[in-house]
Symmetry: C2
Subunit: 163 residues, 2 copies
């Protein structure tokens, strides 16, 4: 099983090597070009901040961060660019328990999430055994799976200790 942690609203992490955001930006630009869409500075600002921030930002948080480097951008452009990044397969939209969506940088591998109910920390993990069991269930139900969502909620290691 592999694991990666993210604080909600945390700034960029070292395990996202410094060049990754730039690679994503290049992908973003080429995928825009493929669709006959334009690269603009609001778009670039939003995408770069999103890639550099790391994972699981809300639209609100992203808006606040983007404002710091470009106070001119509006909320609408944030949402429009998030949708665009999703269409370019550079972003995944998540709906945990809250009312607002959270957005993560799309990686190469599928993963599920653990969410700490006390501190809000999000831990990503992959577990092949669970993935296989889901296929077993699908077979027993006679259905064909296209995707799934597994979210575990509870107390993270730190919050357990500080109880």
């Amino acid at each position: 099983m592999s694991v990666a942690e993210t604080d909600i609203g945390a700034a960029s992490r070292e395990h996202l090597s410094r060049s990754k955001p730039e690679q994503r930006m290049e992908l973003f630009h080429s995928r825009l070009r493929d669709r006959g869409l334009k690269s603009t500075s609001p778009r670039d600002d939003i995408a770069r901040v999103f890639f550099e921030l790391g994972r699981h930002v809300s639209a609100e948080e992203l808006y606040a961060e983007v404002k710091k480097i470009n106070p001119h951008v509006g909320y609408a452009t944030i949402y429009r660019t998030l949708k665009l990044l999703k269409e370019c397969e550079l972003l995944n939209e998540r709906h945990f328990d809250e009312d607002q969506a959270r957005f993560e940088v799309a990686g190469d591998h599928h993963h599920d999430h653990f969410i700490c109910e006390k501190c809000g920390k999000i831990v990503e993990f992959e577990d092949d055994a669970i993935e296989r069991m889901q296929q077993d269930v699908a077979r027993k139900l006679g259905v064909a799976l296209t995707r799934h969502k597994l979210e575990l909620y509870g107390l993270c290691a730190d919050c357990r200790r500080s109880r």
Copy 2:
């Protein structure tokens, strides 16, 4: 593994034996009494329709159904009564992919859901093996689980055939 099906918006099912809704009504009344809350006719109408309809209704659908037998009730009372039923542990709130919540009659046992992306059918299932694996993951992560959410999406048996 055990399984149970529900169409979104389907009317009451025979596998919900005819007396069940009345049993739920009695529970509802006694739990209201325990809390010093009142039984009223809007509340009763909403709760009875909810129990009789079966599972996975949206507030909108429930509102429409309740209107048929009591055109006087307002949306606010629907939501307030749903919240009350949840507090009485007679209802579970679910948030599948959509924007609106769906509400199911709370049963005795935990279960997860398969949702057909074509026809919207919802299939409930329980699988001990998956439940155990989740505990394994929690142990490996060093976290304590309080609850989880597993949703499988794809094509149900019927929709696969009619492709």
